[in-house]
Amino acid sequence: MAGLDAALRADEVRQAARAWRDIGFIDPATLSRIEAAYPETRARLAWMWKALLFIVVTVAANSVLGAVFMVSSEASSTVLLVFGAGLAYATEIFRSPLLTDNGIAAATSFWSLAFVLAGTFLSLERSHVGDTAAVTAVLALAVVVLALACWRWGFAVYGDSSAAAAFLLLARPTSGRALWLLAGIAVVAIAPRLFGRVGLSPPCRTAAAGTWVVGAAALYTSVNRYALDHRWIERLSVSPGTAGDPSDLARLLSSLATAFVPVVLLVWGLRSRRALFLDVGVVLVALSLVTLRAYVHIAPLWSLLTAAGLLLVGAALGVGRSLRRVPGGERRGFTARSFSSPRRGLEAAAVVAAFAPAAASPRAPEPGGFSPGGGRYGGGGATGDF
């Protein structure tokens, strides 16, 4: 969809310009000139509208499918495949750059892919190829159709899902762990070249970043000591019972790699100035510390959690302060200034999550009385525009 590609690129520029207006980098008059240069070819709805339409279309599609199942004499796999094809056609219509980006295409594309994959699995199962072969075949099909859906319809999440399906497929042979290691290294090394490629549309570039995250996660899982000892990848293979215990050398190398891989990603992120690498590196450092805790009981859990929390708060405050104090507010290409619109709503989520342990009931509630136990409601402060 050439028109869709142009619309998505214009969307990206317009969104960036609006964020710059929100943080005061450009004035409203400049924003108006930019929006005139990149005219809106289609309306974009706020996420809440999209979510709402996604839910309603989901109910509609599945209700029709349920009704067809009840009256049809056709095999369920055939019905699913026909329905999936019909929803793919609907996606072609609703994803048009001339129509509003309103969540309908997201729902029709999602259920199209789900029905096609489920229909394929059922038809393979009925043809007596066996569950194992059917799962493998559906995973292979998922890799292809999800990647095609990402490219054709411009939904980055399908590209990420395609990468995840590819790694699940690679886990099917008994050599799955080695394949995850090799493929993970390849993805981590190659995917960054696609992040800024002009020929790719914005969702495909986003999918490349998501694929990099999937690759890094697969690489880390393949070397993590806990995942090795508990045979996480081997359990996904076609014959999970045949995997023997890892050798002592494999355990030693795995322990070293568990510590080494996150550090490599962090250093790479600092040197290449990629926030994504830093984010993933920090998460993997945390996972490596959790892995360490699983094998070495250094201190009581409460003291570790409190110390880790103090370390994080102190590090964030310290880094923020050091970045603010240097001339220009930046150091080695990093800054604590924001270049995107203020995000709201996270505050409430954090409060709700944090409040739960603090508000535990001091004692059992009176019969028939109140039972306080921490708030479960959040979302205050969320904003949106259309």
Partner: protein, 321 residues
């Protein structure tokens, strides 16, 4: 690097749509030469606050016999006071308007201080029974303290905490899902939720009308709508098949009111909440009235009508805004 932005900014500079210095800075950002880690730092602060509060909670649970309640309460209270003092020295002076803070983490340290205060209060209540049989009042005390702190230091997150504590005090912290299963106090809890939601909605209106922290309105309104509509939906979806229908009427009226008000005020989030609750109420009604294939087809048809309504409403809101 974002090639589309690099190309666009280069063109704007040549055509003098955007002048330097912002153009130069934005170009460096688009090229990946200047990277903002603001979100990362804030996420670290959030995670740090959560870890500390969880760690303190475990500490209280595991050590109260060994150290004694006075020592533990003193340590946690001192930590809470230190956080509040740290934040108070860095956050701007009181104003009824939004107070912009240049400090990255002071709001999160403030939140941590109030959370530690809440943990300390809960611990003291559990150990010393400060309020006796009226023990839920410690939640009201937390709500009042958090409310004052939120207004003094202009913190939306602490205001969310205050409102959540208030709702917890009224007995709403038990999930409305449980209430819908016909627990003994389900109706009382449901009415409490509606009362709390109404109070929060009144707070939203008042904050805007009297221009007192009008930027808090979103927190009040969203939490209020979630409580009111959630309570009404829990009545509609309750297990008791003899009484659910009564709740359809207030749900329909409340949803309609929210939809109309949100449409006029151009508020897509609230409009969506109203439509969603009305839609779920409709599904329950259809589920009781019709059966089999007809039900599925009617649900599909009504869903398509809702889709058309939403698309048209969205267009209307855009065109009239």
């Amino acid at each position: 690097m974002n090639p589309d932005l690099v190309e666009a900014i280069g063109r704007w500079r040549r055509e003098r749509v955007v002048e330097d210095p912002p153009a130069e800075t934005l170009l460096r950002v688009a090229r990946g030469e200047l990277v903002s880690i603001e979100l990362e730092l804030k996420t670290l602060l959030y995670a740090g606050v959560l870890l500390i509060v969880t760690g303190v909670g475990l500490f209280l649970k595991e050590n109260h016999d060994r150290l004694g309640p006075v020592a533990i309460a003193s340590v946690v209270g001192a930590a809470a006071a230190a956080c509040l003092v740290y934040a108070a020295r860095r956050l701007p002076a009181f104003t009824w308007q939004a107070a912009a803070s240049e400090h990255l983490g002071a709001d999160y340290v403030l939140l941590l201080g109030v959370l530690l205060f809440g943990a300390d209060l809960g611990y003291l209540e559990a150990q010393m029974h400060l309020f006796g049989r009226e023990w839920p009042y410690h939640l009201l005390l937390l709500a009042v303290v958090a409310f004052v702190v939120a207004y003094r230091f202009d913190s939306r997150s602490v205001l969310s905490l205050a409102l959540t504590s208030f709702a917890a005090w009224r007995g709403v912290s038990v999930s409305l899902t449980l209430a819908a299963r016909g627990a003994g106090s389900a109706t009382a809890i449901r009415w409490n939720a509606i009362f709390c939601g109404a109070v929060f909605l009144a707070g939203a209106v008042g904050s805007v009308r009297w221009r007192r922290k009008s930027h808090f309105e979103g927190v009040y309104a969203t939490l209020g709508l979630l409580l009111v509509l959630g309570a009404l939906l829990s009545g509609v979806f309750q297990w008791d098949r003899s009484r659910w229908a009564i709740w359809e009427i207030p749900l329909g009226m409340a949803s309609a009111a929210v939809i109309v008000a949100a449409y006029r005020l151009r508020r897509p989030l609230d409009f969506s909440l109203g439509v969603l609750s009305a839609y779920f109420g409709l599904l329950r009604l259809l589920g009781e009235a019709i059966r089999g294939t007809t039900l599925l087809l009617v649900v599909a048809a009504s869903s398509l009508i809702v889709v058309v309504f939403l698309v048209r409403a969205q267009r209307g809101m855009r065109n009239e805004s």
